[in-house]
């Protein structure tokens, strides 16, 4: 089977610091690959390269067996890559439909934005993702962390993402809301999406992911199938920075 995404020998430096150093990763359809590591290990930088927010210095990105050139978030979207950022990339002053469709507004035949249509679509998808979501026409600043997260996730689901990048999707959420996101990840996975998941919660990662990759100081320590490792193995990879066999 062709991998959905192949990142080949990716490197990126900021000033003198090699934030990502010769990292290779792949992702198959219907698979969740977790990225683990300390703060500053290079996880977020790596996935931002895939999302088009950063441009790599060296390396190649292959999507479904074809080499692609991702220079901007718009390029990434064109390859059906959607990203849910740690910082929740939402415009707080706009309502949920405006955020969901930001950059891809539905328009009427006169080229004006069709707010009514976008609201209707938002109601439809929210009924599926988060039935408790009621504040459709209020600015998203009035929403709870979980509701805001569901707007961000709805964006990915609505536009038929094939590759989903989730950077700490549950960091700002309560227990109940985290479970909701976890269930959603499982559902999307069952639909055949490939998901890169970043989290600090090792136990959550072992529960949700098929494989986990550990990074430290910009380099990839190793990638392991979840069934082959224990939580302690992973923790020692994160802390010691050594692949399991060597440890």
């Amino acid at each position: 089977m062709t991998p959905l995404v192949e990142l080949k020998n990716i490197s990126l430096s900021f000033g003198g610091v090699r934030a990502v150093d010769n990292v290779s990763l792949d992702l198959y359809p219907g698979e969740v690959v977790g990225l683990l590591g300390h703060n500053g290990a290079g996880k977020s930088t790596l996935i931002k390269i895939l999302a088009g927010a950063y441009q790599m210095d060296e390396g190649e990105i292959w999507i479904e067996g074809k080499k692609v050139n991702i220079q901007s978030p718009r390029d990434a979207r064109r390859h059906n890559i959607e990203t849910i950022y740690q910082t929740l990339a939402l415009a707080d002053n706009l309502d949920a439909p405006s955020n969901l469709f930001l950059g891809r507004e539905l328009t009427t035949r006169f080229g004006l934005v069709d707010d009514a249509k976008m609201e209707a679509e938002t109601r439809k998808i929210m009924a599926r993702l988060n039935p408790n979501f009621k504040k459709i026409s209020e600015p998203v600043s009035a929403l709870s962390g979980g509701q805001r997260q569901s707007v961000a996730i709805a964006r990915a689901v609505y536009f038929n993402a094939k590759i989903l990048i989730m950077d700490e999707p549950t960091a700002a959420l309560g227990v109940h809301e985290s479970k909701m996101v976890a269930d959603l990840i499982k559902e999307l996975k069952a639909q055949g999406l490939g998901i890169f998941l970043i989290s600090h919660d090792t136990r959550e990662m072992l529960d949700l992911c098929d494989r986990v990759s550990v990074m430290k100081n910009g380099t990839l320590i190793g990638t392991e199938k979840v069934g082959d490792v224990t939580e302690d193995d992973i923790l020692s990879m994160i802390i010691m920075g050594k692949a399991r066999d060597a440890a």
């Binding site: 927010a53 415009a91 002053n93 405006s98 950059g103 009514a116 109601r123 009924a127």
Partner: protein, 437 residues
Amino acid sequence: MTDTSTPGTDSHRSPTASKRSFLTQLEIDTRLLGMIGAFVLVCLVFNVLTDGRFLTPRNIFNLTIQTVSVAIMATGMVFVIVTRHIDLSVGAMLATCSAAMAITQTDILPKMLGLGLGHPLIPWISILAGLIVGTVIGAFQGWLVGYLTIPAFIVTLGGLLIWRNVAWYMTDGQTIGPLDETFRNFGGINGTLGETWSWVVGVIAVVLALWALSASRRNKIGHGFPVKPVWAEAIVGLIITVGILGFVAILNAYEVPTARLIREFKANGEAMPEGYTAAYGIPYSVLLLIAIAIGMTVIAKRTRLGRYIFATGGNPDAAELSGINTRLLTVKIFALMGALVALSAVVASARLTNHSNDIGTLDELRVIAAAVIGGTALAGGIGTIHGAILGALIMQSLQSGMAMVGVDAPLQNIVVGAVLVLAVWIDIVYRRRTGGK
């Protein structure tokens, strides 16, 4: 689950509906209502202080035409401030645009190109020249801000000095006039629709407004969204109708002085019939402002450009990550500001009937104050076009009201400054209470 799948039932749940206050049912913005209240209060106080001279058709007419120039620029300033920028150069740009148009119509076209003074194309080519100058200057400043990432405050502070003195350099500091007769029509009192056409425009405006109201309601019903009760819809429609026709009636009540009418009849070689009267009606400059206000509101609410402006103001990073080209957006916003400054320069110079070296001085402060009093948040992301126009109207009412009462000039400016600070403070308190930003 059941609730979200049938959103249309929201408004029909009678227990909650009855709890809703009168105002929420009307869906009128309380903030806007507060500003209208403040404006009415200012008018009533001055009317008492001036023994009823403030709210005469004559003064309302003057107030309207005095507001136009600042109000046009304030609509553009809303977009600039919403995206967390500022434009301190609008007054100076206005002078440069005005100088360019004055030179075009008194020197370049009639003399160098030999069209001759009074040629019918002169005013239009001049306005086009002004629009090009304004748009290019604005786009250039926007490029400096967006692509070279120089703070807008610095770029336009430099622009304030540069364009003010470019205008001076172009004209050697001389007053240029008189301007073309057709061009002067945009100044206010020299160009009005007259009584009949004012009523025609008023009625068309009412019909269009009511049509828009019902179209929006039908659209909502079509998508199964909650709608206002019919009586609330009717009240809003009534308020709009009375507002528009009332405004036309007031402007139509301001009659042209008999001496001026006699002069006009004489110019045509006729004698004025006994008892003849004529009213000014709606000035062209006010029609221009209304057209700009509608256009800018459509841009703000119904176009991608507007959506991106507000998204960028709310969260620039989110906008960028959503694939919005925020640099080009900055250029567009400043270019639009420049074009509006040029239109404002048409009105300002036409009102003076000439280009003077100090035209537009301190306008940047009036324009920013109007936008801010009108509810545009300097933190970005929030602001409305109608708010900015109302802000301009409130500022102008204060200024001319105090002048009528006979308040000393320094005191006038002290009061206006204090009102600006007070208005922003009230706005902060209001937003905190209502849970907004």
